[in-house]
């Protein structure tokens, strides 16, 4: 697909930005569940405990641990792609 094919004209009245719709909310939590650590201090501690609780409550569901290199910069595209491809649900630990 050429670059010009990836630019489209907005068909709406442009009264608000075009935004993706939220995905439908499932009746129950199903994996793979990605636990994303944004690399702030002790965020991993929180996620460790969260992982324990999730494994107790959702035996058999796949849980993945992922981590940003640093909290000071946006998620690298490669990590974003990995999250999009591997996870059904994402829980991101913010901490301060």
């Amino acid at each position: 697909m050429s670059d010009s094919d990836r630019v489209i004209l907005d068909p709406t009245a442009e009264r608000s930005p075009l935004r993706r719709r939220l995905s439908a909310r499932g009746a129950r939590l199903r994996g793979p569940i990605g636990l994303v650590d944004i690399a702030k201090a002790r965020g991993d501690v929180f996620l460790d405990e969260l992982e324990v609780q999730l494994r107790l409550r959702l035996p058999g569901e796949q849980i993945l641990r992922l981590r940003k290199p640093t909290f000071t910069k946006p998620t690298p595209p490669s990590l974003r792609d990995e999250i999009a491809q591997r996870c059904r649900v994402v829980i991101q630990a913010l901490a301060d």
Partner: protein, 546 residues
């Protein structure tokens, strides 16, 4: 010779990067007595012939004030090779995007343009002509106040004429790209970039701008091409679209028409349909917001049906015909995307119906024994029109045995009585679609549309008392809808009023009649309407414009 190259016209200014990395061109400020422009392609044999002559002319008159600029339509590598082959010492400007070539509007290369110091064309020609070149040299010398140099060597005689090669602006792919560039400049819609990682079709679904089916991505090229389907300006506001009363410009309609899969020649029908739908009379807001079933049903009349392939015959309400499928869909997408009307939001339809994806048919005027719908409604047969009707999905009228018009019309009446509810008499508009075989039966007895309407009303007439709520069926005409002078002391209709026959429809003319469908099959159809009159929706007909 294009008007741009006519002597005396202002030479379009341009500045392009050269092979050396600086810039050259023609500006609005005077830059010496004259500038010679040599437009070329690296693979043009006549350009190969002319290049040395331009080089010689530049050498002979350069010190007298003649600036020379070679303007290449080829890429930089090919341009550099060409310049080296001919030992060109003049700047070679790179016009690979053809902005200068397009501005000068020539058809073939080489194209030589002599520009005066005040920026006007002195002389121009395309290809090579011996006399043309002599005249250009003489003009250049005179403008520079120099003697006319002789460039033709003794014993040499240049050819009288050598044709050039087509300018790259005429390459089919390039021509389309340039048309998009020109057209895209007049488009004002927000540009949206589809992320590289995204499938375009999933992207549209995620944005919620489709109707549940994949849409065609509305790229600049497609929208520019779609706008060729109308003479109206892209910025012209066609209608304010409910429920948000947002302005639908021609451009926005074109964008949604691309998404729907329309061809450019369908666009003016979509525009006319939206003009009709967004009138107070049609009441699109109500049609959209109701919990009931209606959708804008589009009936097309006139010669345009066959010009663009609108199906009027077999499977007319079904699939398989691009014009029918996409015109209705485009209208629905405009309502959704521009007007903001979406299911579960303002669109509160309990069940909805498939016609809310698209419902557009052509009347089969050729099979009709009567005046077509648009002529009945005051237009000439040769005019192209759309009629918008707020209709339910089609329901069947089966009659395979009636041999007389009266019997058939009675069948139709019995079927029509069930529109909405059998007890709802005094109803508003319906759309009766008569199939060709039923037309033949009615025609054989010489029945007009008026005769058909009259018999339907007779066949559906019931005593008023049978139309009221009762112990067996709580539905029916509400008592409060009856005029007070018909009511007795007990708050119920007077006994003599209960016996009055009440036809199904308030007026005979509320039964809209069109002919459509295949020649085989004794099945007509009715599309029930919504609330009629000023509180509801009435059918609206509009001429299809340019």
């Amino acid at each position: 010779m294009s008007a741009t190259l006519s002597p005396g016209t202002p030479a379009p200014p341009f500045r392009l990067r050269t092979l050396h990395g600086d810039e050259a061109g023609v500006g609005s400020a005077a830059t010496g007595p004259a500038t010679l422009l040599f437009f070329f392609k690296h693979d043009c044999p006549t350009c190969d012939f002319v290049a040395p002559l331009v080089g010689q002319l530049s050498q002979r008159l350069g010190d007298e004030g003649l600036r020379s600029v070679a303007v290449s339509q080829s890429d930089s590598a090919a341009s550099a090779a060409f310049a080296a082959k001919h030992a060109l010492e003049i700047p070679v400007a790179l016009d690979e995007e053809l902005s200068a070539s397009e501005a000068y509007a020539f058809d073939s290369v080489p194209c030589l343009v002599l520009v005066s110091g005040d920026g006007r064309v002195l002389r121009a020609f395309q290809g090579f002509g011996r006399e043309d070149f002599f005249a250009l040299v003489a003009d250049a010398a005179r403008t520079c106040g120099a003697a006319v140099p002789s460039l033709e060597r003794p014993g040499e005689r240049w050819p009288e004429n050598r044709p050039g090669c087509a300018s790259r602006v005429h390459d089919p792919e390039v021509a389309q790209r340039l048309a998009v560039r020109r057209g895209a400049a007049q488009l004002s819609a927000r540009r949206v970039h589809i992320p590289v990682a995204d499938d375009p079709f999933e992207f549209f679904a995620a944005l919620g701008i489709d109707d549940g089916l994949p849409v065609v991505p509305p790229t600049e090229a497609r929208v520019v091409r779609m706008l060729e389907g109308t003479k109206r300006s892209p910025s012209e506001v066609v209608a304010l679209v409910p429920p948000n009363l947002a302005p639908a410009t021609v451009e926005k309609i074109a964008i949604n028409a691309v998404m729907a899969g329309c061809r450019p020649e369908y666009l003016r029908i979509v525009i006319a349909a939206l003009e009709a739908a967004c009138t107070d009379e049609f009441n699109l807001h109500g049609v959209l917001a109701t919990t009931y079933f209606p959708t804008p049903v589009i009936v097309v009349n006139g010669p345009i049906r066959h010009e663009i392939g609108i199906n009027c015959a077999g499977n007319v309400f079904g699939q398989g015909f691009r014009a029918n499928a996409t015109i209705g869909r485009a209208v629905q997408l405009v309502v959704r995307n521009v007007g903001g009307g979406r299911p579960g939001e303002v669109d509160m339809a309990t069940l909805g119906q498939p016609g809310k994806y698209t419902c557009c048919i052509g009347e089969n005027e050729e099979e009709s024994p009567w005046e077509p719908l648009h002529v009945e409604r005051g237009f000439r047969r040769e005019q192209n029109t759309v009629t918008l009707f707020a209709g339910e999905a089609p329901r069947a009228i089966l009659d395979q045995t009636s041999r007389s018009a009266r019997s058939l019309a009675t069948s139709m009446g019995l079927c029509l009585e069930s529109v909405a509810h059998p007890k709802f008499h005094g109803y508003g508009e319906v759309l009766l679609v008569v199939c060709p075989e039923h037309c033949r039966t009615l025609e054989a007895d010489g029945w007009s549309k008026a005769d058909l309407r009259r018999r339907i009303q007779e066949a559906t007439s019931r005593p008023l008392g049978q139309c009221l709520p009762d112990a067996e069926c709580a539905e029916g005409l509400p008592l409060q809808a009856l005029p007070s002078d018909l009511m007795g002391q007990d708050g119920r209709p007077r006994p003599e009023i209960l016996a009055l026959p009440l036809p199904k429809f308030r007026r005979d003319e509320d039964i809209l009649i069109v002919v459509a469908g295949a020649r085989a099959g004794k099945f007509s159809a009715v599309l029930g309407g919504w609330v009629g009159g000023k509180m509801g929706s009435v059918a609206v007909t509009r001429e299809i414009g340019a």
